[in-house]
């Protein structure tokens, strides 16, 4: 995840133009609006928002029926961002995602016109990405990385801001194509969605069994405001010792006995950037070590491979990460 260009239109920020407090308060309003449709899952929502403010892509993993798609739709609904959904199947072709040239007849005759695919949206929900073929996965992931699509020798830039929120199922592995580690590393965060508790599930049942319509959501943040917040997030100051500790944490994953393959420097960048995003979302002007600790699991869990002995002992990546953080 190395991007040299600033997000959005590349405009510069001026202290006189930016009301930081107002923008930070928008985050709380987003939480309130999304909460009208999504019950609980506060941590998942915060991680999703941190991913968006960091201009990254997220991989959501959970059992079916836990509201992954609903949450992504709700998040895109509180903004004026364009939303599209890609349902991955084994027969999905790369051109089905990126778009293709079609012949169109006009008064001037026949001409090739590039028909944009569903990837040309601000928020792209790639459902069950592990069901797509590796070739289709590669096309999607290449678009994620380059923020552009090349078709018939022509390069088409993707809209800004651009996020891919992919989902996958930990069960039902029959007929799936697991993402290789090199490609999962391109996702800024891997977010786990857990089952709700009793109270939350009761409220979900009340909410969705009394009306056909989902509760309305108000748009509270604009595309420009999201881009401004993304620039501000990158400017959030971080103390030298906290940054060094974050880098050392990632390096520890390479030396840990229970980890066969540790995380790359891309993880160090992701950890610091998402730490800044979390600090911004909490209304602070500086990164706290608590931010790094909170973002370590979603940043690292898909970037490390446990040793077989650790797996045999029943250790999970999150448990190993927690032991490194302590």
């Amino acid at each position: 995840m190395s991007r040299d260009d600033p997000p959005g239109d590349g405009g510069t920020l001026s202290g006189a133009d930016v009301d930081i407090d107002r923008l930070q308060s928008k985050v709380e309003r987003v939480r309130e609006e999304v909460g009208k449709r999504i019950v609980g899952q506060r941590t998942v929502l915060d991680q999703l928002l941190a991913c968006i403010l960091s201009d990254g892509n997220a991989l959501l993993e959970s059992n079916p029926g836990l509201g992954k798609t609903s949450m992504v739709k709700a998040v895109s609904a509180v903004t004026d961002l364009e939303f599209s959904r890609i349902q991955n199947t084994p027969d999905l072709m790369p051109s089905d995602i990126t778009g293709t040239e079609i012949i169109r007849e006009s008064q001037q005759g026949r001409e090739f016109v590039f028909e944009k695919g569903p990837i040309f949206a601000n928020v792209v929900l790639a459902d069950e990405i592990n069901r797509a073929t590796p070739k289709t996965q590669a096309a999607l992931l290449e678009a994620m990385q380059e923020k552009q699509v090349t078709a018939a020798g022509e390069t088409h830039a993707l809209p800004r801001p651009f996020f891919v929120l992919a989902t996958q199922n930990p069960i039902d592995q029959e007929g799936t194509y697991p993402l290789p580690e090199a490609q999962t590393d391109r996702f800024l965060l891997k977010i786990l969605v857990e089952y709700p508790d009793f109270e939350e599930e009761r409220r979900i049942v009340e909410l969705y069994t009394e009306d056909f319509q989902a509760p309305p959501i108000e748009q509270v943040v604009s595309r420009e405001e999201i881009q401004t917040m993304q620039r501000l997030v990158r400017q959030v100051p971080i103390a030298d010792d906290i940054r060094d500790r974050a880098v050392k944490l990632v390096q520890q994953t390479r030396d840990e006995e229970t980890i066969e393959f540790g995380a790359s420097p891309r993880a160090s960048m992701a950890l610091v950037l998402t730490g800044k995003a979390r600090a911004f979302m909490q209304g602070r002007r500086h990164v706290s070590w608590d931010d790094i600790v909170a973002m370590a699991p979603p940043v690292l869990r898909h970037r490390i491979i446990l040793d077989f002995r650790a797996e045999r002992q029943g250790l999970t990546p999150d448990e190993v990460i927690e032991s490194l953080v302590r």
Partner: protein, 295 residues
């Protein structure tokens, strides 16, 4: 100050934090150095080591340099060894303690004393050092400057430790004064109890009762004089005062004398007044008889 840009104000605030840290280090170092000075001075006054002289002239090597100035008298001025050692130990304590206390970054010490702004202050410090003036950096500076108003550098001082140290300092100073007055010395340096070339007045030998024979020497025969006089002694009542009555009593008692001896009132303290003059006269006669027999 208020017109300065936020980064400059933040830098000034950090400089002020560091100054407070230096002040605290000086306070601790001065108090501990004073305590060490007095303690060493007291120890060397109570325990005298024979190899160490009582006084020294530390500026004697500089006599050549000082001779041409009006300060030549300094070269010969003796200074107490205990005082000099105490001063040296105190100075060393000051330097070492100050160096140890400022070794840890002063801003971090302030953060530890004010944990509510620990992370934000440290972040602001690093951001100022990097010279950042982004929107978020400036917002951080303003935020930290606002919160610094609610902090205090008094938290850097361990009041209890300071009070204890000052209390001990006062106690040691009082003991030092008492030792100087009482002149207590354990004299562990030699057989003479620490006598040295520069003996203080407090070390003069005992001048109490001595051997009388050693003072009087051997008995000698005293030759009789050429003139013999008869003295007429009279008894005198106890407790009398006044020249008239005692002179009369003196004339009326004792041996007859051909020569008039003008009587004089002997001067003695009333508490030593002889109560039984008759007994004394009798003893005197006996002593004279014994002497006559010997001659």
């Amino acid at each position: 100050m208020s017109d300065a840009p936020p980064r400059q104000r933040m830098a000034d605030a950090l400089a002020e934090v560091r100054r407070e840290g230096y002040k605290v280090a000086v306070i601790y170092a001065v108090v501990d150095a004073a305590l060490v000075t007095l303690a060493v001075n007291l120890l060397l006054q109570v325990v005298t080591v024979g190899a160490i002289p009582e006084t020294v002239r530390p500026l004697a090597p500089l006599s050549g340099v000082l001779s041409g100035t009006g300060l030549s008298w300094l070269a010969g001025t003796p200074v107490g060894t205990s005082t000099l050692a105490g001063a040296a130990a105190g100075l060393l304590t000051f330097v070492v303690e100050f160096a140890l206390r400022v070794r840890r970054p002063l801003v971090e010490q302030f953060e530890a004393a004010n944990p509510s702004i620990r992370e934000s202050l440290r972040t602001a410090r690093d951001t100022v050092e990097d010279g950042r003036e982004t929107v978020m950096a400036l917002a951080l500076y303003r935020d930290v400057l606002d919160r610094l108003r609610d902090t205090s550098s008094l938290e850097l001082i361990d009041a209890r430790r300071l009070v204890v140290t000052v209390t001990v300092l006062v106690a040691v100073s009082l003991v030092s004064i008492q030792v100087a007055v009482v002149d207590l010395n354990l004299g562990l340096g030699g057989p003479d109890g620490g006598d040295g070339p520069d003996q203080s007045p407090n070390q003069r030998p005992y001048e109490g009762l001595r051997d009388g024979d050693a003072i009087l020497g051997d008995a000698e025969n005293v030759t009789a004089g050429d003139t013999e006089l008869d003295a007429d002694l009279q008894t005198q009542g106890g407790g009398e005062s006044g020249n008239g009555s005692s002179a009369a009593a003196y004339d009326q008692s004792g041996f007859a004398s051909s020569a008039d001896v003008e009587s004089q009132q002997a001067g003695f303290a009333p508490s030593e007044q002889v109560e039984d003059a008759e007994l004394i006269r009798e003893y005197n006669l006996k002593i004279r008889d014994i002497e006559d027999d010997d001659s």
